[in-house]
Each structure stands twice: as C-alpha cells, then as structure tokens.
C-alpha cells in the first residue's frame, strides 16, 4: 500500500474572508495509494484537492509532493494531473488531440507522442475512438478521455474530483471497479474526492472523512466503517443504531460500560475520547443484528417487535422495538428467509455480537 510518503500536507488552512474552508489540516498520503477524501458538500474536500493541484493557494501551511515543497507553485509546474468533475474535455479537439494536449509542450518526437497517446487510450479502452469528436462521446467515454489525458502525462499523483457523480448508477459501479484496477495497474497515487460513502469504501486503500474543514478520521475503509471514531463519522458512513450506556470503569485504553439491553460490555477507546464516567454513546451497524427464525438460537439474544418494514429488493430494512429502548433498532436482512413477509407487530428474537458495539465520541 503506502511505500513512502508521496504527499505531505502540513498545517494547511484556506480562509475565504473570515470563513475557513479548510482549517489547520495535516495529512500524509503514501506513494501508490488510492486515497479518498470523503465528506458532505461544503466540508472542504474539494478545496483541499484544489490546493494539492495548485488552483487554490493555501492561506497557511505547506504542501510537499514527493519531497518537493510545491506551495506557491502554479498547477502547470506540479507533478499532479486532475480529472475534473465535468471532465472539461476540449470541445474543439478530437479524442487523440485531447489526450495529446499536454504532451505537445514536452516536444516529443512524433512517433513517441503517438505511441504514448495510443498507450493511454488503450489503458482506458478507447483505442478505437481516437478520431471521434468530443461532442460525439457519451458521458462514460468522456470520463475515459479525461482519465487518459491526465494519465498520459505520467503524473506522480492523479487527482479525481467527484469523477463518477455525473454517471448513472450502473455505469458508476462499473467505473468504480475499473478505476480501482487501473490504479493498481499504473501504480501511481490516486486522490479521489467524493461525497458517496459506498464509492469511497469500494475503491480506497484509505479514506479521510472530513467535516467543516477538518479531518474527522483517516483509516482503511473497513476501520472507518466498523470503528468510526465519533457519531458524525458513524452516521455519514451508513446506517447505525445509537445506544446510550453508562461508564463503569476505564483502564488500559478500554472502557467498561453498562447498556440497557446488551448488559455489561468492554469497549475499545477511540482516539480523542476523554469521558471517564457518565453517559456515553455506543453504535452498532444494522447488519450486525440478525433475525433468529424458529428453532435457531444464538449465544446472545434479545426480544423485540417489528414496528416498521421497508422493502429494497435484495434486502428488507426492519425496525424492531425493544423494551427499554426509546428508538427502535434498525436491522437489514437479505430476502431469502422471508423477512420481507414479516408482519408489523410480529414478535421476533435478534442475535447480536457484543464485539460489534463501538464506543463513539460525540
């Protein structure tokens, strides 16, 4: 994954008037890493990407790329290339001319230039469309042209600004897989900006979750999803059951707590967690709770009543009211055992795994 540091961001801030879009943020991104900046719109992720590209000058702090301080260097002299959100395909040039645009300045000889354009088009599987005019391309093809145009420059870092948001769902999922394998094939650092948590989870080596100009958590997809550090991250990454608990002990980086329905549990302390007593919030992902059918038993069970049901084709989302809980628990069941036919008001038993509980900072 991360062999060595490719991008080193130190104490970077960007103020628009008195408002910080990004505030004193530091981050290391490794060589050959697929790194995602994930957050809601307005969280500063695009500003951060544009500071790495050089389109936005930081108010404070510095950026190093491959050991070189690039703070203040204009975009045309940075070893980065970008895939823009709307692809920014040059409308007056055909596919080959678009891909060769940046090579023209390198003054390569004609055969070498042609070879590199061909190679880039091959990488994005567009070899047959070299002479197509820009306006004859579909959205997916335009995106491939934008990718080839950036990759042909052999950048140290490829920046992708919400590259899949303009595509329909099916194509988006296909491009996620393709982008990931393309990154592994070329082996350069990719930095992806997205507000789509599934996209980030599916493609990244590591994800940085951003809120209000600050990093909330930087970790692998699995860690971010299963061990979110706080309520905000947990909530942004998908469905989560929030439960309150009372701290009963605190030792060796672990916290003992008492819950209303899961009894006494011992939890790992997330970084930045300070409370040593009183009420805390725990989280459990909906898919970590499982319906028990007749005859089935589990080491840990609780009783409840179905209070709501939503059908999603492959899955059914159920709300289960449990005595002693103010809000019902959400669970997700695949539809091969009849969860989609459970009537509202049915009494059910749920199996749970106490290890799936996470302690969340507020």
């Amino acid at each position: 994954m991360a062999d060595r540091s490719m991008i080193s961001i130190h104490g970077i801030s960007k103020y628009y008037g008195p408002y910080p879009a990004v505030s004193s943020l530091s981050l290391e991104i490794g060589g050959g890493e697929f790194f995602s900046l994930l957050g809601p719109s307005g969280c500063g992720k695009t500003t951060l990407l544009r500071m790495i590209a050089g389109f936005v000058e930081p108010t404070d702090g510095s950026i190093r790329i491959d050991g070189q301080d690039v703070t203040g260097t204009p975009p045309n002299r940075r070893p980065t290339n970008m895939v823009f959100q709307n692809y920014a395909i040059f409308p007056h040039l055909n596919v080959e001319e678009n891909v060769g645009y940046g090579l023209k300045r390198l003054r390569l000889d004609k055969t070498e230039e042609k070879r590199r354009i061909g190679e880039a088009l091959e990488q994005v599987r567009l070899s047959t469309l070299g002479s197509r005019k820009a306006h004859e391309l579909s959205g997916g093809q335009r995106q491939r042209v934008a990718l080839a145009r950036a990759l042909v420059m052999r950048p140290k870092v490829l920046l992708l600004d919400e590259p899949l948001s303009a595509l329909d769902k099916k194509l988006r999922e296909q491009m996620q897989v393709e982008l990931r394998s393309l990154q592994q094939a070329v082996g350069i650092t990719f930095i992806l900006v997205t507000h789509d948590q599934y996209e980030a989870l599916a493609m990244s080596d590591r994800i940085a979750v951003m809120f209000a100009g600050k990093l909330a958590q930087v970790a692998t997809p699995k860690e971010i999803y299963q061990r979110p550090v706080n309520r905000q991250v947990a909530d942004f990454l998908g469905g989560m059951n929030f439960l309150s608990a009372t701290v009963t002990g605190d030792a060796n980086g672990k916290v003992a707590a008492r819950t209303d329905i899961f009894g006494d549990v011992v939890l790992e302390k997330p970084p930045g967690f300070t409370a040593t007593e009183g009420k805390v919030t725990l989280g459990m992902r909906p898919e970590r709770l499982r319906l028990l059918w007749e005859g089935e038993t589990a080491p840990k069970e609780i009783q409840g009543t179905v209070s709501n049901r939503h059908y999603f084709g492959e899955t059914t989302h159920l709300s289960i009211a449990v005595d002693g809980l103010s809000a019902p628990l959400s669970i997700i069941e695949t539809n091969n055992y009849g969860a989609d036919d459970l009537p509202i008001g049915a009494d059910v038993r749920l199996a749970y795994d106490p290890d799936a509980l996470v302690l969340l900072a507020e």
């Binding site: 389109f55 823009f84 692809y87 920014a88 645009y101």
Partner: protein
C-alpha cells in the same frame, strides 16, 4: 380538425410567396433586357451588371460600405466581447440594468437614434464623414454582437482553462490553444452579423454621412432616375447574394459555437 390541417399548408405557401416573391423579382429583372420592370420579360442580358462595373460613383460607394462594414463589425465585436465577458463571467450590481441598456438600441426607433446622434455630432462641431457613420452604426450593432457573443461565451467553462493549465500549459498558451479556439466561432459569427447589418443599414448612414455615400444611400439616390433602375436591381441582387452568403456563414459558426456549448452539459450514461 382535419379541415383546419389542410388549410395550414395553403396559408404557409401564401405567406412565403408574399414574403419572398418581391425579393425574387429583383434578380429576375436584373437580367431582363429592358429598362422597365414589367412583364413579359424581354430576354436575358448581363448588360446591367456590366454597366455597374464601369460606374465609378457606385464603386466608390461600395468601397465606402466595405470600409464602414469592416470597421463597424470589428468595433461592435470588440465592445461586444467586453460586455459579453462581463455578463457571463462576473456578478455585479446593476448587471441586468446594464445589459438591458446595451440591448435597448434594438428596440428604439432607429430614426430617433439617428436624429439624436446627428444633433450631438453637429453640436460637437464634428464633420459628417464615414467616421460618424461608423460610430453611429457601431452603437446600433453592439446589441446584435453582444447577443451572439453572450450565447457563445455562456458555454465557456472555466474548467477548460484549468484543465489546460493542469496539463502543463502557460496562461498565454491556454488562451491561444483553448480560450480562443473555443470562442472563435462566436466571434466570427458576431463579425459577420455586424458586417451584414452595416452593409444594408440606411437610416443612420443617410443622416450621418457627409459627401461619401454608402451603398444603400447611393441606391436611394439612384431611384430618382427611372433609367438607372435596372442597374440598381443588379446591384441589389449582388447585395442580396452577399447578405445571404454572410448570414449563412454566420449561422454555421453560431451552430458550431452551440455544439461546443452542449458539450459542457455532461450527458448521463
């Protein structure tokens, strides 16, 4: 309903005939071997066109029209570029009012504009010349240029310039390789539209010209002499041809600009 539908083609045919038949008469009579414009036609001739070629007054007027047309199209397009860029790229107070005021000459009675310009020119003690015609027609053409250019510039996406810079190009290189080629069709279209309008503009030219006439003013002067009519028709046919040619060219460029604009909206899929 079907009755109404059958009447519609008839109406359209009558409408088009009424609109274009008189214009078609001009080239027809310009080749007619007779001094009067009456049917039946008296046979084919090139002679009216030949007399035109030897008419130095007319050739002077044609040269004047060319000077005025070229100057007006360049000036109106330059001002139009400034205005269109300001309107499409920046947000400022009074933007709607400003663009409204720039477009207003389109809707003002041209003769009133002509008289007011004449009054100002005379009040300033300036001499009436081709220069005053150029200035007057420029004011009149800016709205047309601006309308064409705004529609062309609206499609221009800043991220194109950023993409160019990102690919290693300098600011000047970006202007030369991206900005200019992308907006070029709109600029050409504006030049052609302004030139065509100037070429057959009569009222401003009539009021603001000194001793040097433009073609429309020359034609108007010739209409007093019945014998000159066939030559005028020949000249008119040539101008008609030039206008149609220039406007067709302008439309081709405008459509090219339009197709580049559509590209900015990424289709789904």
């Amino acid at each position: 309903m079907s009755g109404r539908l059958r009447l519609l083609p008839v109406f359209v045919a009558a409408y088009l005939l009424f609109l274009y038949a008189p214009i078609l008469l001009i080239p027809i009579f310009s080749f007619n071997n007779a001094a009067s414009t009456t049917f039946p036609l008296a046979g084919f001739t090139w002679k009216w066109y030949v007399t035109l070629a030897g008419n130095t007054v007319m050739l002077d007027a044609a040269r004047n029209s060319l000077i005025v047309g070229v100057s007006v199209s360049i000036l109106a397009t330059l001002f139009g570029i400034c205005a269109a860029r300001a309107i499409t790229r920046y947000d400022f107070r009074g933007k709607r009012l400003t663009s409204g005021l720039i477009m207003a000459p389109l809707f003002l009675p041209e003769i009133i504009v002509a008289i007011s310009l004449l009054m100002i020119v005379l009040a300033m003690g300036a001499e009436l010349s081709l220069l005053t015609v150029i200035l007057g027609q420029t004011v009149f053409c800016i709205p047309y240029s601006m309308a064409v250019l705004v529609s062309g510039f609206e499609g221009f996406d800043r991220s194109l310039e950023e993409a160019s810079q990102d690919l290693g190009e300098t600011a000047f290189g970006t202007f030369r390789r991206v900005t200019l080629p992308v907006v070029a069709p709109a600029i050409l279209s504006s030049l052609l539209v302004a030139f065509t309008i100037s070429l057959d503009e009569f009222i401003l030219a009539f009021f603001l010209t000194g001793t040097q006439q433009t073609l429309p003013v020359y034609i108007w002067g010739q209409l007093r002499f019945a014998a000159k009519l066939p030559s005028v028709l020949a000249l008119g046919s040539l101008m008609l041809l030039a206008s149609v040619f220039l406007l067709t060219l302008a439309e081709i460029f405008r459509r090219r600009a339009e197709s580049r604009k559509i590209l900015q909206e990424v289709p789904h899929g």
